[in-house]
C-alpha cells in the first residue's frame, strides 16, 4: 500500500524531481498543480543516507536533522496522505482566512515612553511565527532586563522535536541576565532566596499567549540557575561585566546544565523524560542584546540577525550581524576540522551536514553529538521506556570517534548603532531560505517608513507598453494594500516570504495555497518561520552618538 519504495529515495537528492516524485503518491490534480507552482526546492537540505534507506523515512527534505521516526506512525502518515489525496478538495482561503492564519501568533511591543527621561534606543518590536511542523519547533523570546539595562530578544530553531528550543527559550535569558548582574545584585538575590524573601525580578517578559513556560520544570531550572549564580558569586572577579563574555558564558553554561540534568536524571518520571528529551533534541539560538547604542548579537547555529540600514538616498540595505554555523561557512568547517584528528576529516562533514546528519554546526542540546558513546548508551538504557523505544535516540552517528562534535558556544558580534540603522531582523532559517536579506531589508524598510516612499514610476525614454505598465501598477497597488493589511512588520515579512511571486509581490492565490497545505505537506514547501523585527529609535541613537562625540 505504500507507493514509494525505498530504492527510489536516493533520487530525491536531486532537487528538481523531488516534487515530481510525489505525483504518483498524490493523484489529485489540484495538489499536483500546487506542487508545480509553489514548491521550493531546497536541495541543499536534502540528505539521504544509504543505511537509512531501508527504514521508513519521512520526506523531510528540509529537516535540520535527518531523523528516524517511529515506523508505525510514519506508516500512518502515508496512509493519511493517500486518504487525503483521494478526497477532492478545494484549496482556497479567502483573504480574511489567510489573515487569521498569518496573524494568529503575531505580537507587538512598544517601549513605553517616559517624558523624555531615560528613553530607550528601541522603539519596540514586532514578532510572529508561522508553523510548518506540527507542532512548531521554533521558539522566540523577548524580555527587558530589570536589574541591568538592555533588552534581550531571541529566536530559537529546534530540531528533532521542540523540547530543547522550548527549554532554551525559557532559560537562556535568565542565564544571560545573571551573567550580566554585578556582584552586589547577585548577593542580594542569593540572600533573598536564602532567607525566603521576595526575589527581585530579573526579567520582564514580553510574551505572546502561545509562548508558554513549563511549570513542572521551573523548580529544576531554578535550582540549576541558582547554582550558576552561586558559582558566579564565588568566582567574584571584581571586574565589570563584559557583555560579550557574559553572553558566551551564559550560552555555554546553559548547554552544560542541559547536559548535566539529563545525565543526573530526575526522580519525577515526567521531569526525567523531559530533561532527556531536551538533551536529545537540539536548538539553535540567535539572541540580540540592545543597550543604548550597543548591540550585541550572540549566535549559535543557522538563524540569522540582520540590520536594516537606510542609505542617504532613502534606499535600504542589509548588514549581516551573524554568521551561519553550517557547511556553507568555510570558517566553521575549518573550525570543526581543527577540533578533530585528521583521520576524521572526510567523515566530519558529509552532504553539507555535520557527520552527514546535522545541518547546524553549533547547537544547544543534541547530546548525541556531544556525549561519548558509553555515556549515551548508559543514559538511554537507564532511561524511561519511551526513550528506549525511540530508534533515533538509540542510534549513534556514524564515524563517531572523538566527541564532542558540537558546541553551543556562540559567536558574538558587537555593533555600535548609528542613526541610519533603523531596524534589526532576527529570524530562523525558514525566512532566509525563501528571501534574500536585501529583499528583507527593503520590504521591512518600506513597511516601517510607509508606502509613500515607493519610488514614482517614470516612463522616460523606455519602451513600455500599456499592458506592461498596467501589470506594474497593479503589482504596486497590491504591495500597498498588503502593507495596509498588516499592523506587524513580522507578519508583513511572513506574508512576503510565503506569498511572493516571481515579481517580488504578494500573490494572494499563492499565499492561499501555501497556507492551506495539510500539515504533512507543509513541511516540504517551507520550514517553520519565526521573525522578530526590532525598530530602533534614531533620535535617541543620534543623541547618544552626539554625547559620545
Amino acid at each position: 500500500a505504500i507507493p514509494v519504495r525505498s530504492s527510489r529515495l536516493p533520487l530525491l537528492s536531486d532537487a528538481m524531481p523531488a516534487p515530481a516524485h510525489l505525483f504518483p503518491l498524490i493523484r489529485n490534480c489540484e495538489i499536483s498543480r500546487i506542487c508545480s507552482t509553489v514548491c521550493y526546492c531546497h536541495h541543499k537540505h536534502l540528505c539521504c543516507l544509504s543505511h537509512f534507506a531501508h527504514s521508513h523515512f519521512r520526506y523531510a527534505s528540509q529537516k535540520k536533522l535527518v531523523a528516524l521516526h517511529r515506523p508505525k506512525e510514519n506508516f500512518n502518515h502515508f496512509i493519511h496522505t493517500r486518504d487525503y489525496a483521494s478526497t477532492p478538495q478545494r484549496f482556497y482561503l479567502t483573504p480574511p482566512q489567510v489573515n487569521s492564519i498569518l496573524k494568529a501568533n503575531e505580537y507587538s511591543f512598544k517601549v513605553p515612553e517616559f517624558d523624555g527621561k531615560n528613553v530607550s534606543s528601541v522603539l519596540g518590536f514586532d514578532s510572529n511565527q508561522l508553523p510548518a511542523n506540527a507542532p512548531i519547533e521554533d521558539r522566540r523570546s523577548a524580555a527587558t532586563c530589570l536589574q541591568t539595562r538592555g533588552m534581550l530578544l531571541g529566536v530559537f530553531d529546534g530540531h528533532a522535536g521542540c523540547a530543547c528550543a522550548q527549554a532554551v527559550s525559557e532559560r537562556l535569558f535568565y542565564y544571560i541576565a545573571v551573567s550580566l548582574l554585578p556582584h552586589e545584585t547577585l548577593l542580594e538575590i542569593e540572600n533573598a532566596v536564602e532567607s525566603g524573601r521576595a526575589l527581585l525580578p530579573i526579567l520582564q517578559w514580553h510574551k505572546h499567549p502561545n509562548d508558554y513556560f513549563s511549570k513542572e520544570a521551573s523548580k529544576l531550572y531554578f535550582s540549576s540557575l541558582r547554582t550558576y549564580w552561586q558559582e558566579l558569586i564565588d568566582l567574584n572577579s571584581g571586574e565589570t561585566t563584559d557583555v560579550k563574555e557574559a553572553l558566551i558564558n551564559a550560552f555555554k553554561r546553559l548547554d552544560n546544565d542541559i547536559s548535566l540534568e539529563a545525565q543526573v536524571g530526575d526522580p519525577n518520571s515526567f521531569l526525567n523524560y523531559l530533561v532527556l528529551r531536551v538533551a536529545f533534541s537540539g536548538a539553535t539560538a540567535c539572541v540580540a542584546h540592545v543597550d543604548g547604542v550597543d548591540l550585541h548579537i550572540a549566535n549559535t547555529g543557522d538563524s540569522r540577525a540582520m540590520l536594516g540600514v537606510q542609505e542617504e538616498d532613502g534606499s535600504w540595505s542589509a548588514v549581516n550581524l551573524s554568521y551561519d554555523h553550517n557547511a556553507q561557512n568555510e570558517h566553521e568547517v575549518e573550525r570543526v576540522k581543527m577540533e578533530h584528528p585528521k583521520s576524521e576529516e572526510k567523515s566530519l562533514v558529509k552532504q553539507d551536514r555535520l557527520l552527514g546528519l546535522l545541518m547546524p554546526f553549533r547547537a544547544f542540546g543534541d547530546v548525541k553529538f556531544k556525549w561519548s558513546i558509553e555515556l549515551q548508551k548508559r543514559v538511554v538504557e537507564s532511561g524511561p521506556d519511551q526513550l528506549n523505544d525511540n530508534e533515533y535516540t538509540k542510534f549513534i552517528p556514524p564515524n563517531y570517534h572523538t566527541p564532542p562534535y558540537l558546541t553551543a558556544e556562540p559567536e558574538v558580534i558587537h555593533h555600535k548603532l548609528r542613526p541610519q540603522d533603523k531596524f534589526l531582523v532576527l529570524a530562523t532559517d525558514g525566512l532566509w531560505e525563501t528571501m534574500h536579506r536585501q529583499d528583507v531589508a527593503r520590504i521591512v524598510g518600506e513597511y516601517l517608513t510607509g508606502v509613500h516612499h515607493q519610488q514614482p514610476i517614470a516612463v522616460g525614454g523606455y519602451k513600455v507598453t500599456l499592458g506592461q505598465m498596467h501589470g506594474l501598477l497593479t503589482e504596486r497597488r497590491a504591495r500597498i494594500s498588503s502593507v495596509f493589511e498588516d499592523q506587524n512588520a513580522a507578519t508583513h515579512l511572513i506574508r512576503h516570504a510565503v506569498g511572493n511571486n516571481e515579481f517580488g509581490t504578494v500573490d494572494h492565490e499563492r499565499l492561499s495555497k501555501m497556507l492551506s497545505l495539510p500539515e504533512e505537506l507543509a513541511r516540504m514547501y517551507r520550514d517553520d518561520i519565526t521573525i522578530i523585527v526590532v525598530q530602533f529609535n534614531s533620535h535617541v541613537i543620534g543623541a547618544c552618538q552626539n554625547e559620545e562625540l
Binding site: I457, V459, T465, G467
Partner: protein, 882 residues
C-alpha cells in the same frame, strides 16, 4: 496693424524653432531659428486690456474685434496658448447637460470648422463624431436626456446599440455596454492652433498682442477699472478682461479692490501613445466612457486618453507661478484606475507603446459651470475662466457671449448660470475651493441626477435654528452657501444612502414630502426661509421712492404697510430680479429677493442708484431669521401668540406689520407665503429666532403644526403655477410672457426701466408664453420623472422646453412649467404666441426620449382650491431655484 501681424508671425516662427513646441502643435511653419524679436513697447492706453493668451483670451479678442472694438491689447505672461490650452486634449463635444453650455459648444464647433478657411492657420479640425457609452441603464437615461436636448436644437444625435458602437469603432469592447449616444458632428482640433488662429484673426482686426508680459495688478478708481500695471509698464484702459485661467483667482486678488473668481486647479492626466501597428484613422470617433471615467480620442495614429479620477489632486492652493506648470510630474500610480478602465474598454491596446503621461492642470469651479461676466464690485472688470476642463468646447461660444456682453450690455442668451455674480465672497475661501473642486472633478463623470447636493463646503451659512431643525430629522441642501431644509425624516424612518438615492424615478422621500404638503393644506407648517436676500433701502427724503419707482416695474407708491410683488427689469423688460418689497415707512423699504440674488441684485442697484449720502441701502440678510407659517391654521397660531387681531379685515393679504410674537417684539409679519397658500412670513431679528420658533411650535401643537422643507414648498408653488426667478424667470423673460401683467404698472406717472419694451409687447404680443402642463399618461411610480429642460412638443412639433417640474399631491399628477414658442412651420421664424395657440394644441413632454401627453394651462386650477379674494390669487412670487 499690418506690422503687428508680422510681429505675431515672427513669434510663431520663433515658437516653431522650439522643438518642444513643434511637437505639441505640429506647426508646419518654416523652422528658421530666428531669435526672439525685440519686444514692441506697450501702448500707453487702450479701450480693452485682455490678460491671458489662451483659448479664452484669444476668443474674446477675436469676437470683440469682429464686433467692431479695435482698441484692444492682449497680454500673455508667457507664450500664446502655452498654458492649459496647449495641453488640452482638443475634444470639441456638444453633449452638455446645461442648455447654455450646449449652445456655447455648438457655436464653438461651427466656429472652429471654418476657422482655418478664415485665417489660413491650420487648426487640425477633424469631424470625428463622439460616442458616449453607457454601462448602466441610469447612464443611458442620462444620455437620452442629452440626446433629446441636442435633437431639438438641430444637432444630429442618436442613441445607438452596443453593436452599432462596435461598427463605429473597431477597438471597443462592448460586452458591458447597454447603449451609447452618437453625436456625429463632434470634432477634434489642435487647441493651441485654434487659439493661434483666433489670435491671428484678431491681430488682423487690429488687436495688439504682447507676449511675455505679465499683469501685476489692475488699477481701480471709484469702483471702475482705470488701467493695468504690467512688468513692462502701465496701460490705461476702460475695460479689463481676466482670462488668466487657473491664475485668474490670484490675479483677481492682486489689486487693492479684490475680485473674487472662485476657481481652483486640479492635476489632470492623459496618456499619449505611439501609433498602432495599423495607425488609427484620424476620423475615428472620440469615445467617452463616463462609467469608466475616461475619454479616448485618436492621436497621430495612436490614442490620447485621460479621465476624471475619483481622488483628484488639487494644486496651487497657495498660489504658484506659471513656471511650475512645466515641471509637473507624471503620476502613474494615480493614473492606474484610468489605465485599467482604458484597457478594459480597449483590450487590444495592451501592446501599444506609451509615449507620455501628460500632467495638465485644469481649473474647476464650485458648481461645475464656467465663470463669465462683470465683477459685482469693479465696473469694467470682466472675467472669463474656470472652464472645468471643457475650455476648447466652450471657447468660441464663451468668447462670443462675453464680447456681446461688453459691446451690447448683455449677451444674446441667458448666461445667468455662468454669471460671476452667482458667487459671492463666501465662495472665495481657498479651503472651500480646494475641498469643493475635489468633489467637482469626479462629478464630471458621475451620473447627474435630479436634486443633487454638493457634500463639501457645507454648513457655512446657517440659520440660528439649524441645530434644532437638524435634531428633528432635517435633511439639508445648500443654496449660495446657506443650509436649507429639504424635508424632515420622521423618527424611525430610514432613507436610502446618498449613493443609492440617486434616481431618475420616484425618489424615496416621496411620501415624506406628501405628508408635509398635506399638513400645509390642512393645518399649519413652519418652513425656515432665512436664506432669502434682504435689503433695506431708505432715504431722508423721497429719493428712495423715486429711485425704486424707476428701477421696479410695479407701483411702489403704496400706503405704508403694503407689500408689493414686482420685477426688477432690464431695458428689454426682462427680469433681472423678482422680489417682494414692503413699504415700512414713507421713506424706507424692505426688499426680499431670492437667495442667490445677494450679489447680483446688490450690484445692479448700486450701479443704478445715485451716489447720494442721503440714500442708503443695507444688506440685512444676516439680521433676520425668516419663518414661513403656511396653512389654514397659521392665522390661529399667530393670533394666539400675539393677542392681536389677525383676521382678514385687520390683516389683509399682502400686508406687513411689526408686532410682538410671544415675548419678542419687533417681528415683521407679512401676509405672504410664496406659495399661494394662506399664511404669514415672520421676519425675526436673529436673537429672537429660537424663542419665536419655540413659541410657534408649542402654540401650534393643538393645530397640528409640523416642520416642513423646501421640497414641499416647491410642490405647492408649482401646482399653483408660481414662477421662480433663476429657474423659470430670467433676464430674457418679461412679465408679459409669464402672465404677470398685473405686477406691472405701465402708467404709474413716471418712466421705469423696461417700460418701453413692455409697452411694445403689450401692443404686438409676446413670442413665448409661460405655460403649465399637467402630465396625463404618466405613471408616478413606474415612469421617469420630469426634471427641467425637457422638450415640449405641440402637435408633434417642438415648441419649447420646461423650466421646472414637481409632483402635485393635490392633483395627483406631475406638473411641468415651461415656455411655449411658435415657430413658423416653413421658415422657422418666431411668431407671436396667442392664447388660442396655446389652448388649441395637443402637447407632449419628452422625458429622456419618451413622450408623455400633457394638458396645457395658462392659469392655475383656481377651481380646485378654495376660492379666495382677487388679491390672493395675484400673489405670485417665489424665490428659490431647485
Amino acid at each position: 496693424a499690418a506690422g503687428m501681424f508680422l510681429r505675431l508671425l515672427s513669434d510663431v516662427r520663433w515658437r516653431a524653432a522650439n522643438p518642444k513646441w513643434r511637437r505639441m502643435t505640429c506647426s508646419r511653419r518654416s523652422t528658421s531659428s530666428t531669435a526672439e524679436p525685440h519686444p514692441v513697447s506697450l501702448p500707453a492706453q487702450a479701450q480693452v486690456v485682455i490678460c491671458g493668451g489662451g483659448i479664452m483670451g484669444t476668443s474674446v479678442a477675436y469676437h470683440l474685434s469682429k464686433m467692431g472694438w479695435k482698441d484692444i491689447v492682449l497680454l500673455e505672461q508667457g507664450r500664446l496658448a502655452a498654458g492649459t490650452t496647449r495641453f488640452c486634449a482638443g475634444i470639441v463635444s456638444t453633449a452638455r447637460h446645461v442648455s447654455i453650455e450646449l449652445k456655447m459648444a455648438d457655436y464653438s464647433n461651427k466656429l472652429y470648422q471654418q476657422l482655418e478657411q478664415e485665417t489660413g492657420v491650420k487648426t487640425g479640425y477633424v469631424k470625428t463624431g463622439s460616442i458616449s457609452l453607457a454601462q448602466t441603464q441610469d447612464r443611458l437615461i442620462s444620455l437620452k436626456r442629452i440626446a433629446s436636448s441636442l435633437n431639438v436644437m438641430g444637432i444630429p444625435c442618436e442613441i445607438i446599440t452596443p453593436k452599432q458602437v462596435a461598427q463605429l469603432h473597431p477597438l471597443i469592447n462592448i460586452h458591458d455596454l447597454v447603449g451609447a449616444m452618437y453625436v456625429p458632428e463632434d470634432a477634434l482640433v489642435s487647441s493651441a492652433n485654434v487659439s493661434l488662429a483666433l489670435a491671428t484673426a484678431a491681430s488682423r482686426n487690429g488687436v495688439q498682442i504682447h507676449e511675455r508680459t505679465s499683469v501685476s495688478h489692475v488699477s481701480v478708481q471709484k469702483g471702475r477699472v482705470t488701467g493695468v500695471e504690467t512688468d513692462r509698464g502701465q496701460i490705461q484702459c476702460q475695460y479689463f478682461i481676466n482670462c488668466a485661467g487657473q491664475w485668474a483667482y490670484e490675479l483677481g486678488h492682486s489689486g487693492e479692490e479684490p475680485v473674487n473668481i472662485p476657481l481652483h486647479a486640479c492635476e489632470h492626466f492623459y496618456l499619449l501613445t505611439h501609433p498602432l501597428k495599423e495607425p488609427l484613422a484620424s476620423n475615428l470617433p472620440t469615445i467617452v466612457d463616463p462609467d469608466g471615467r475616461i475619454y479616448i480620442r485618436n492621436w497621430q495614429g495612436g490614442i490620447l486618453s485621460g479621465g476624471f479620477e475619483k481622488n483628484p489632486k488639487p494644486l496651487f492652493t497657495e498660489g504658484r507661478n506659471q513656471l511650475e506648470i512645466q515641471n509637473l510630474q507624471e503620476d502613474w500610480d494615480h493614473f492606474e484606475p484610468l489605465l485599467s478602465a482604458l484597457l478594459r474598454r480597449m483590450p487590444d491596446l495592451e501592446a501599444l507603446q506609451i509615449m507620455q503621461l501628460v500632467n495638465c492642470p485644469e481649473s474647476f469651479t464650485p458648481d461645475m459651470r464656467c465663470i463669465m461676466g462683470e465683477s459685482p464690485t469693479v465696473r469694467g472688470y470682466f472675467v472669463l475662466a474656470g472652464m472645468n476642463s471643457a475650455g476648447i468646447s466652450y471657447g468660441g461660444g464663451a468668447g462670443k457671449y462675453l464680447a456681446e456682453w461688453m459691446v451690447n450690455g448683455y449677451p444674446s442668451e441667458n448666461v445667468w448660470p455662468l454669471d460671476l455674480k452667482r458667487f459671492g465672497t463666501l465662495q472665495s475661501s481657498r479651503t472651500f475651493l480646494r475641498h469643493r473642486v475635489m468633489e467637482v472633478m469626479p462629478l464630471m463623470c458621475d451620473l447627474k441626477v435630479p436634486r443633487w447636493d454638493f457634500q463639501t463646503g457645507r454648513q457655512l451659512r446657517t440659520s440660528p435654528l439649524y441645530d434644532r431643525l437638524d435634531a428633528q430629522g432635517a435633511r439639508w441642501m445648500e443654496k449660495h452657501g446657506f443650509e436649507r431644509v429639504k424635508y424632515f425624516v420622521p423618527p424611525g424612518k430610514d432613507l436610502l444612502d446618498l449613493d443609492q438615492s440617486k434616481t431618475f424615478y420616484k425618489p424615496d422621500w416621496f411620501d415624506i414630502v406628501g405628508s408635509e404638503v398635506k399638513c400645509c393644506k390642512e393645518a399649519v407648517c413652519v418652513i425656515d426661509m432665512s436664506s432669502f436676500t434682504k435689503f433695506e433701502i431708505s432715504s431722508t427724503g423721497d429719493q428712495a421712492l423715486e429711485n425704486l419707482q424707476y428701477l421696479f416695474s410695479n407701483d411702489l407708491d403704496v400706503p405704508v404697510g403694503h407689500v408689493v410683488h414686482t420685477g426688477m427689469l432690464n431695458e428689454k423688460g426682462g427680469y433681472e430680479n423678482d422680489c417682494s418689497i414692503a413699504r415700512l415707512s414713507k421713506r424706507s423699504f424692505f426688499m426680499i429677493s431670492p437667495t442667490d440674488q445677494q450679489v447680483h441684485c446688490w450690484a445692479w442697484l448700486k450701479n443704478r442708484l445715485p451716489d447720494d449720502s442721503t440714500l442708503t441701502m443695507e444688506d440685512v440678510t444676516w439680521k433676520y431669521t425668516a419663518l414661513n407659517l403656511i396653512g389654514p391654521r397659521a392665522v390661529d397660531v399667530l393670533s394666539e401668540l400675539s393677542y392681536a387681531p389677525i383676521t382678514p379685515e385687520h390683516f389683509p393679504s399682502l400686508f406687513c406689520k411689526e408686532m410682538s410674537v410671544g415675548y419678542a417684539n419687533g417681528i415683521r409679519v407679512m401676509s405672504i407665503t410664496h406659495t399661494g397658500e394662506p399664511g404669514f412670513m415672520l421676519y425675526i431679528p436673529i436673537e429672537y429666532a429660537l424663542h419665536v420658533y419655540n413659541e410657534v411650535m408649542n402654540m401650534g401643537q393643538k393645530y397640528g403644526i409640523r416642520n416642513a422643507g423646501y421640497y414641499a414648498l416647491r410642490s405647492l408653488r408649482i401646482e399653483k403655477f408660481f414662477a421662480f426667478w433663476g429657474q423659470d424667470l430670467d433676464a430674457f423673460t418679461t412679465p408679459m410672457e409669464c402672465g404677470r401683467e398685473f405686477q406691472v404698472k405701465l402708467e404709474k406717472g413716471m418712466q421705469f426701466v423696461g417700460q418701453e419694451a413692455l409697452l411694445e409687447q403689450k401692443q404686438n404680443g409676446v413670442y413665448k408664453r409661460f405655460t403649465m402642463f399637467i402630465l396625463e399618461d404618466h405613471d408616478t411610480d413606474m415612469d421617469l420623472w420630469p426634471w427641467w429642460g425637457e422638450p415640449i412638443f405641440r402637435n408633434g412639433r417642438y415648441v419649447g422646453k420646461t423650466t421646472s417640474s414637481a409632483y402635485s399631491y393635490t392633483l395627483e399628477r406631475h406638473v411641468c412649467l415651461g415656455f411655449v414658442q411658435h415657430f413658423d412651420e416653413k421658415t422657422g421664424e418666431e411668431l407671436v404666441v396667442t392664447t388660442d395657440f396655446i389652448n388649441q394644441g395637443e402637447y407632449e413632454i419628452d422625458i429622456a426620449g419618451q413622450r408623455f401627453q400633457a394638458k396645457a394651462k395658462l392659469y392655475p386650477f383656481s377651481s380646485l382650491f378654495t376660492h379666495r379674494r382677487r388679491k390672493d390669487e395675484v400673489e405670485l412670487s417665489g424665490y428659490q431655484r431647485e
